[in-house]
Amino acid sequence: MIEGSLFPYFVVAMILLSIGLLGVISRKNIFVIYMSIELMLSAINLIFVTLSNHYHSMSSQIIAMMVIAVAAAEAAVFLSLIVVLYKRRKSLDSDIFVALSQKESL
């Protein structure tokens, strides 16, 4: 078992990950879904940084930095996709995103 001083960090990360998952499955607002995905990425980051402190290794912090870079790339694509779909449909409902899987619906 890991020592007691680091265990609360894991619990916080676990709670944040669960809240993010709850947001993805219970909300329909596409912005809130995006923010929930960001929250889950941040929770995983917290686990990586805690493990870096636990194992005295810098590699986990580098992985956490790369997760931040992936989140930035995701933000660019996701938000431009939201802008395009909002301009065409005037709605933030995530159900309009089924348009991406159908050829003629736009």
């Binding site: 078992m1 923010m35 790339a73 938000l79």
Partner: protein, 166 residues
Amino acid sequence: MLDIVFFLLAFFAIAGAIGMILFHQPVHSALSLILTIIALAGLFALLSASFLFMVQIIVYAGAIITLLIFIIMFLNVKESNLPKEPHKYPAMVVGFVCLIPFNILVLRAFYKMPSSQNIPLETDFGSIKTLGWELFNQWLLPFELISILLLVALIGAVVFGRKDEV
């Protein structure tokens, strides 16, 4: 002292996250997420990851969330454009119940983890120098791949933002 700081930061992180999934307006959710992100940055600082603390504040709170708030205000969403969410709270309760076994599994995994060596951290652990040394010695290829990923995301955003029909 550090325990009090930890509990305050953990409280703000979790409260911000709960507020984020409960608020109806996206702007309120985004401001709530900023609270969570900054509290997480504080947790990184407590874990002696000083460079990631700065990266979290500059890149996450400063760039990603600001871009998100900019897009929300740019779209000028009216109340009538927001989706109706009649099943929001029942879905949250059902999801909460379904997540309990998953969380128990995760807690068991944490308990099974091997304990670490009980030597104190080096003084420059987590500083920009040690992180850069590790990054450019052992993680050079993933670093370059990340830059290619960012380039591809940039091109993808430009393609989506074109005026003509895609």
